[in-house]
């Protein structure tokens, strides 16, 4: 601190923030992460690894039905036995990770593209744009999304593409809401007005002035949306309108093997087969939520 009376602008004392590189800051944050967050991150990394390398990890093919049907666990090298038409359950679990996570990620990204862009546009433009978009979203949200999705899927057919687009559209309503509500607080800042006075277009204001300042809540929402999309896909598959056979996914695997539950009293392990895909769904949902909780806790500035 200079205590001389000769004034110079550069020597004014600002806050004493020590600059750290992004990597250093990340290491510090990670070292403070609670156990639950670590658990969540490890599970997510494990799932991603399995999904990416499914082709190499799976002992048998996804649609390979060259084995006897309903083999019990551990028989003839099939760790979790085989299903009703003789496919290796363990391999299908691994492929299921790839299909379900892939589709869920694609859907979530798409819903953020749509909902995020429209939410930002509504908050910046305001007025009629905001009114029209918000009311459309209200209408869409008023219809129970699962029933709406069932209807649309039966109209357009259950391909992976239509599944992604339909779920993304329905989910983007919630993304729109949250983006709009956090962005309206940033839009009123002087730096946004300064950018508009400069003559910047809508795209620049959205991407460079507003988006960087609303990232934390959006990232947290991304995690939550991902879990919900995951559950929606699994539910639709369980109902038979999701991914079609022979593509493996966890929702339809639960449905196909559900009847095995009644044989628990005769063969405990084989009877639990439907719980494997169900457990896989539950585990990633919990893991993602743990990480999101931690992230929200960090960015909300709450101190424990």
């Amino acid at each position: 601190m200079t205590e001389t009376n000769t004034y110079s602008a550069a020597s004014e004392v600002a806050s004493t923030i020590t600059r750290r590189t992004r990597w250093e800051r990340m290491k510090i944050t990670l070292s403070k992460a609670p156990l639950t967050a670590w658990f969540g991150m490890i599970v997510i990394v494990f799932y991603l690894f399995v999904a990416l390398f499914a082709q190499w990890l799976a002992p048998h093919g996804e649609a390979d039905n060259s084995f006897a049907a309903y083999l019990p666990w551990g028989e003839a090298g099939h760790v979790f036995g085989t299903d009703q038409i003789g496919r290796d359950v363990f391999s299908r679990l691994i492929y299921g990770a790839q299909n379900t996570i892939g589709i869920a990620l694609a859907t979530t990204f798409l819903s953020f593209m749509i909902g995020g862009t429209l939410g930002l546009a509504a908050s910046i433009r305001g007025g009629w744009t905001d009114q029209i978009l918000s009311r459309i979203v209200d209408v869409l949200m008023a219809i129970p999304s699962l029933i709406f999705a069932l209807m649309l899927l039966s109209v357009f057919g259950s391909t992976a593409g239509s599944l992604i687009i339909i779920i993304a559209l329905l989910d983007s309503t919630r993304v729109f809401r949250i983006t709009r509500s956090v962005a309206v607080n940033v839009v009123v800042m002087d730096y946004v007005e300064a950018a508009r006075l400069r003559g910047e277009g809508l795209g620049w204001v959205m991407r460079r002035e507003i988006l960087p300042n609303i990232m934390p809540p959006l990232v947290a929402e991304f995690g939550l949306r991902f879990s919900f999309v995951f559950l929606t896909i699994a539910s639709l598959s369980f109902l038979g309108v999701g991914l079609q056979p022979p593509t493996a996914d966890w929702g339809s695997m639960v449905r196909e093997s559900a009847s095995l539950m009644q044989f628990v009293q005769y063969d405990l392990k084989s009877g639990l087969t439907p719980l494997l895909p169900a457990g896989a769904i539950a585990l990633i949902t919990v893991a993602v939520n743990y990480v999101v909780d931690w992230f929200l806790h960090m960015t909300s500035g709450l101190k424990d």
Binding site: A9, A10, G199
Partner: protein, 546 residues
């Protein structure tokens, strides 16, 4: 009513509050940093002590310590605070709570944020008095009404039945003073109570606060950054800087013969002066503009302003007078209902969307709060570089070179290139905003209260810089402010606005000399002067004319 004879009343002369070698630390950036570095303070009964200094000098921290209170994240590490025989450093929370709101009271800066909007004023006024069992509720309310009347609030009998949003900011500040006075405390801590008020309102609040403090012979600590204000209120003035005492002396002595260089620099802006130079070359002209927000109330009525090229035109007026709305009309953010803005002889399209890049480039704006005027996620290089790229198509090395040149023009160096706004002081941030405006190479810069959030010495630096840039590049300034001292320092012409209308426009010297229109007279006479008798004289003068 003079300040000098107060000491003789009551049990004056006894020491009420005594701090010895007090040290306070605050926790930030993962370590404890000293805020107050060993200070002494003595306050007698009935004495008013003014604490002045820039932001960050530790004056609020010290004032609150006088109540035995530390803000969250702060701690008292050593020293003693004796309040009438009680050591507040060692006292337990329960002992201190018994003092607060009964023997010690506090008046905060922002009354609007300090009142509970869901309760009536009078219930909040007597809350502490009743809670401490000092008076029964009915008696306390009777007393509160008398206090309202002593504080010259309108309708003292019924104003207490209103809610906080139903009274003005100045009235709310006086109600808060009544709240502090209700338990008849020995000590009141005033923390910048008039900083958020307009000058004409400030005068009324100051008068009523001084009257009531004198009437009940209450000791007070008055915290402010405005020397002229404290001169009206305090018997003794203590100047703080970097958590240390610079000097302490009786108010009169401090004003006439400050000992330290630093104390003299505190009112340096008032020493700045520029000779007004008239000019007939009009660059920007606002003719017959009416404007309203939405379909609501009209906020501008037939506004006419002429801005000569290369000169500084100041728009003065209180909050709500339409100063900032005028700026919004000029920039195109708020299209006028009627009237025309002409720039360089061409009519400007009323809508922002209708204006060309060149038209936008030539009128730039600098904001009051540099904090919110810069994107917190962009570095200085990006903030200044963007207009260079946007208007002049500069990229890569050429852009970087020009940013560094601009940094040099605003007296900062290349180490600022990679900094984020959060890593700079208030004055530095405002300089970056100036550089961003300069990058566009504008003809007119609209400065909206650019110095009002800054400390005196920093203000002076910014104003000098603006004047230097004007000399060198012939930039025209439209300077919006409520601070008459700043206006005197820098302008060529002055526009006085009141309730959305232009009261008068003219050369500075003509506006600042009599005869004035009634409103200009009120505005100018309300600006505190460096004279401890100013408020007393003003009250007498106004009393005669009223």
């Amino acid at each position: 009513m003079s300040n000098d004879n107060k000491q003789n009343q009551g049990e004056a002369g006894d020491v009420l509050l005594e701090m010895r070698d007090i040290r306070i630390e605050g926790f930030s950036d993962e370590k404890w940093n000293p805020i107050i570095k060993g200070m002494d303070l003595t306050l007698h009964r009935g004495e008013v002590l003014g604490l002045i200094g820039e932001s960050g000098a530790g004056k609020s921290t010290l004032g609150l310590a006088g109540m035995g209170f530390t803000q969250p994240g702060c701690r008292i590490t050593s020293g003693s605070i004796m309040f009438d025989g009680i050591d507040l450093v060692k006292a337990t929370e329960t002992e201190k709570r018994a003092l607060w709101g009964s023997r010690v009271a506090y008046v905060a800066q922002s009354a609007a944020a300090s009142f509970n909007p869901a309760h009536r004023l009078i219930d909040q006024t007597v809350e502490a008095t009743v809670a401490h069992g000092l008076q029964a509720e009915a008696a306390a309310k009777d007393d509160a009404r008398q206090l309202y009347s002593a504080l010259t609030l309108p309708f003292p009998e019924t104003i207490g039945e209103r809610y906080p949003h139903q009274v003005s900011g100045g009235q709310l500040q006086r109600v808060m003073t009544a709240m502090a006075m209700s338990p008849r405390p020995d000590l009141i801590v005033f923390d910048e109570p008039t900083t958020a008020l307009d000058v004409t309102t400030q005068v009324e609040v100051l008068l009523s606060m001084r009257k009531i403090v004198e009437e009940f012979n209450t000791a007070a600590i008055y915290i402010t950054h405005d020397l002229a204000v404290v001169a009206q209120m305090a018997d003794t003035i203590k100047v703080l800087r970097y958590g240390k005492e610079v000097e302490e002396s009786p108010a009169r002595e401090m004003l006439t013969a400050p000992k330290e260089e630093y104390t003299k620099s505190l009112w340096s802006v008032r020493a700045l002066h520029k000779e007004a130079q008239p000019s007939d070359d009009i660059v920007l002209s606002i003719d017959g503009v009416d404007a309203a927000y939405g379909r609501g109330l009209k906020v501008l009525h037939d506004v006419n302003i002429k801005v000569p090229r290369g000169r500084t035109v100041s728009i003065v007026g209180e909050s709500g007078s339409g100063k900032s709305t005028t700026a919004r009309v000029i920039t195109g953010l708020l299209p006028p209902m009627a009237g025309q803005v002409t720039f360089n002889g061409e009519a400007l399209p009323p809508q922002l969307k209708g204006r060309s890049k060149e038209q936008l480039r030539k009128i730039q704006m600098i904001y009051q709060m540099a904090d919110t005027a810069m994107n917190p996620r962009q570095t200085v290089g990006e903030i200044i570089g963007r207009p260079l790229e946007f208007y002049h198509g500069l990229k890569g090395a050429a852009r970087e070179k020009r940013v560094l040149e601009l940094l040099e023009m605003i007296e900062l160096d290349e180490t600022f290139y990679d900094r984020l706004p959060s890593e700079m002081s208030g004055g530095q941030k405002q300089r970056i905003c100036i550089a961003r405006a300069l990058a566009a190479e504008p003809e007119v810069i609209i400065c909206d209260e650019v110095t009002s959030a800054l400390d005196q010495i920093v203000q002076e630096g910014i104003l000098k810089l603006l004047m230097k840039l004007q000399e060198k590049h012939g930039i025209t300034y439209l300077f919006i402010t409520h601070d008459i001292a700043t206006v005197e320092a820098i302008s060529d012409e002055i526009v006085v606005m009141y309730m959305g209308e232009v009261v008068e426009q003219g050369i500075k010297d003509e506006i600042m000399t009599a005869p004035y229109p009634a409103y200009t007279e009120l505005l100018l006479s309300s600006v505190p002067e460096m004279d401890p008798d100013w408020l007393t004289n003003l009250a007498e003068n106004r009393g005669e004319t009223a």
